[in-house]
């Protein structure tokens, strides 16, 4: 496929891998956090770790929108569907996130809740138009990438004078989360999470640009390389980070120049700023309350704010005690360190949110990489099998 295959080229990947191995100092370790779930997924799906030397280690970050959604937020959406009789529309992965009382949106749907999976925010509007007698709520989640469509939907609803449509806005922001990780005691004081640099988000950066990362690259002395979501992008970004670390630089570099500029998409930024505003604080799963890290609907669009419309009160619900999602989202633990990883907690029966979305660190490791936790069994080199495979 054009413009895709070029970025998945195995021969080029091997070359970059050799460069990384050549340039990485054998006497030190490189801990690199990919913030974004899109990168976590690409790294696992294409088997990127196999192409890296052992002293370059990827640390999965919290940039999976489904993973950081706290239980209390899912509970609100379920409440709207089951007790307020609203049609709740949301993106696919959100359906399976575990909530209180053993429920999830997909289970609430089986209990009679009218919950619809949509592919685009505009679909929620279509559903609202088609059901004028029903309340329709768009359960909006995601980082800066999915925020502009939500803002656009709200504006459109106002323009059309829709009176049965509202948004449960759970949009979160990338830069405050990164700062929060860098400020966490594990990273700052104890050095438990040795983060030497960040792979910056691809699609988020298309919207916000590369400038917002400059502040913490400089203040915390951590290099950032913004990278696309294809595996070669990731390899190239790792090489660029290794070089920065070796040279003692801490700059924001842009590997994803085919889409990301320094200032980002100004039109989208203006739109978002018109409709949404920062919340003083927002609870993230794993990170807890993070100041100024999420968006809410501005008061002039209040009639479209589900929290206002249904007078919802957010209630914080603690995670399952055995679940290590919090530590995993902060990079303190690896998925396999969690006692319930792969035993009680699997993608079919996720206990923690990191096991839900394919972008979640646990789901990505379980789905694509868990063979690394066990001894690799090579394919039998049956003389005949080998010969046949060659001949075919």
């Amino acid at each position: 496929m054009k413009y895709i295959d070029e970025f998945r080229d195995g021969a080029l990947a091997r070359q970059i891998g050799e460069h990384i191995a050549d340039e990485a100092d054998p006497d030190r370790h490189y801990g690199l956090m990919e913030f974004c779930g899109g990168h976590t997924h690409a790294i696992s799906r294409y088997g990127v770790p196999e192409l890296l030397p052992p002293n370059v280690r990827m640390i999965h970050g919290p940039g999976c929108p489904v993973c950081v959604l706290p239980i209390g937020r899912i509970d609100l959406a379920i409440h709207l569907a089951l007790t307020r009789d609203a049609i709740v529309c949301t993106y696919g992965d959100t359906m399976r996130v575990p909530a209180s009382d053993g429920l999830s949106l997909i289970k609430a749907k089986a209990r009679g809740g009218d919950i619809r999976m949509i592919y685009s925010a505009a679909d929620a509007l279509t559903i609202a138009r088609a059901n004028p007698q029903r309340e329709v709520v768009f359960f909006a989640i995601g980082f800066e990438t999915t925020t502009p469509p939500t803002a656009l939907t709200i504006r459109q609803a106002q323009r059309e004078g829709l009176t049965n449509f509202s948004v449960l806005c759970c949009h979160v922001l990338t830069p405050p989360a990164i700062v929060h990780i860098l400020e966490s005691p594990e990273v700052r004081d104890f050095g438990i999470v040795p983060i030497d640099g960040f792979i910056g988000p691809a699609h988020v950066s298309i919207v916000i640009g590369s400038a917002p990362y400059e502040h913490f690259a400089a203040s915390y002395r951590k290099p950032v390389v913004i990278a696309g979501f294809e595996p070669l992008d990731v390899m190239q970004a790792i090489l660029m980070l290794v070089r920065q670390v070796n040279e003692g630089r801490a700059q924001v570099e842009n590997e994803f120049i085919r889409a990301v500029t320094r200032t980002g998409n100004l039109k989208a930024q203006t739109l978002v700023a018109d409709v949404l505003e920062p919340r003083p604080s927002f609870e993230w799963r794993g990170l807890g309350e993070v100041p100024h890290s999420a968006l809410r609907i501005r008061s002039r669009y209040r009639q479209f704010d589900a929290e206002h419309r249904f007078e919802l009160n957010y209630r914080c619900v603690p995670d399952n005690k055995a679940c290590e999602c919090g530590a995993i989202l902060r990079g303190v633990k690896k998925p396999a360190d969690c006692k319930i990883f792969g035993t009680v907690c699997t993608p079919e029966n996720p206990i923690g949110s990191c096991m839900v979305s394919s972008e979640g660190a646990c789901a990505a490791h379980y789905t694509y990489g868990r063979f690394r936790d066990v001894p690799i069994v090579a394919a039998p080199v049956h003389a005949s099998a080998h010969a046949t495979a060659q001949a075919l």
Partner: protein, 357 residues
């Protein structure tokens, strides 16, 4: 880490008291398998169900098994929309069941069909579906010999659902089952994957995208016959990777045969337009349904002969070898990626595409 210290997976049992059926129970992945394991099997328990293949191989009283055995398979079809590029509910209902019978190596002989129709359904559409069934039956040489019709109130069905059952005869000496894969065998695939799922999705109301992809829906029993004739006794497993796609089907085989499978991504044929649609929708072609493809696990020394027979058949022109069976004690399906890495190819989780067949 030794194999003994590897954590054993734990599957939380079904919560019969409070649990409800959700869409993932119908996706053909792990949730479907659990439903069968914990609810259907204990209640309906018998040796035939434990064969765990697409069709059951049955003995008949006063009938010499060496001469042949009866094979029976059943399949309900709930595809939405009813008409899609390359096919419709009618031909799907015929092909799906013929293929389930054929995957045991049997020659399909007869079909039954029951229709659950929603009040208000257009007769013209029903006729179009039934005529499509008829022409598929004629082409396959397998007639519908009995049937049933039920009508449910408006809103209690979605157009029409068709359930078909097929019977066939398995020649003596043929033993094809998901249990038979052995380390060293090779895995053959009859053609490109993902065509059916993408074709159906392209006509979904909420998606509706332009594509030239056609469903691959087709009866595969003559392809099977040609493969078996080319290398008698060497074809160990046959499966049609429908719901859950190639990935889920291979995991079932790995589980049933207690082996591992190692695939080569570069050798798995996927049409560029299927790949493009999957990229767009965030799907992995390995999990997208097929209705006219089969996988075969074949003794390595017979692979050339079987592959030759497949490529000489119109339903297997693009047949290819995509991997090998390994002795992995964890029964992982793994894949060498074209990118140069390695990954697990797991069961389908949840439900990405409800009502694809």
């Amino acid at each position: 880490m030794s194999a003994a210290t590897v954590k054993r997976g734990y599957i939380r049992p079904l919560d019969i008291k409070r649990g409800r059926i959700d869409l993932s129970h119908g996706a053909g992945g792990k949730a479907s398998a659990q439903l069968i394991e914990e609810l259907f099997l204990p209640a309906l328990d018998n040796a035939f169900l434990h064969q765990r293949d697409d069709g059951a191989v049955l003995g008949l009283p006063d009938f010499d098994a060496a001469e042949g055995r009866l094979v029976m398979a059943t399949d309900a079809h709930v595809v939405s929309p009813l008409f899609f590029p390359g096919g419709d509910l009618g031909c799907l209902a015929v092909h799906g069941t013929i293929n389930d019978v054929a995957m045991s190596g049997a020659r399909p002989l007869y079909l039954s069909a029951s229709f659950i129709i929603e009040e208000g359904f257009a007769l013209a559409d029903l006729q179009r579906i039934v005529q499509s069934m008829a022409s598929s039956c004629r082409e396959a040489g397998v007639p519908v010999v009995t049937g049933d019709t039920k009508v449910v109130e408006q809103g209690k069905g979605d157009g029409v659902f068709i359930s078909t059952t097929g019977v066939g005869v398995l020649p003596g000496g043929v033993d094809i089952s998901g249990r038979n894969a052995r380390p060293g065998d090779v895995v053959l695939l009859s053609g490109s994957i993902g065509d059916h799922g993408v074709a159906v999705l392209s006509r979904r109301e909420s998606l509706a995208f332009e594509t030239t992809v056609q469903s691959d829906t087709a009866a595969l029993h003559t392809l099977v016959a040609a493969m078996l004739a080319a290398a008698p006794g060497s074809v160990r497993v046959l499966r049609d990777p429908t719901r859950g796609g190639l990935a889920t089907t291979l995991n079932e085989v790995a589980q049933q045969s207690r082996v591992g499978i190692l695939l080569r991504e570069a050798d798995i044929p996927v049409k560029p337009e299927v790949n493009a649609a999957c990229e767009l929708l965030g799907l992995d072609p390995l999990y997208v349904a097929n209705e006219g493809k089969l996988i075969a696990v074949v003794a390595a020394e017979a692979a050339g002969a079987v592959l030759g027979a497949m490529r000489a058949h119109p339903r297997g022109l693009d047949a290819t070898c995509i991997g090998e069976i390994t002795g992995d004690p964890h029964h992982f399906v793994q894949m060498s990626t074209s990118f140069g890495g390695r990954r697990v190819v797991d069961w389908l989780t949840g439900e990405q595409l409800p009502r694809i067949c």
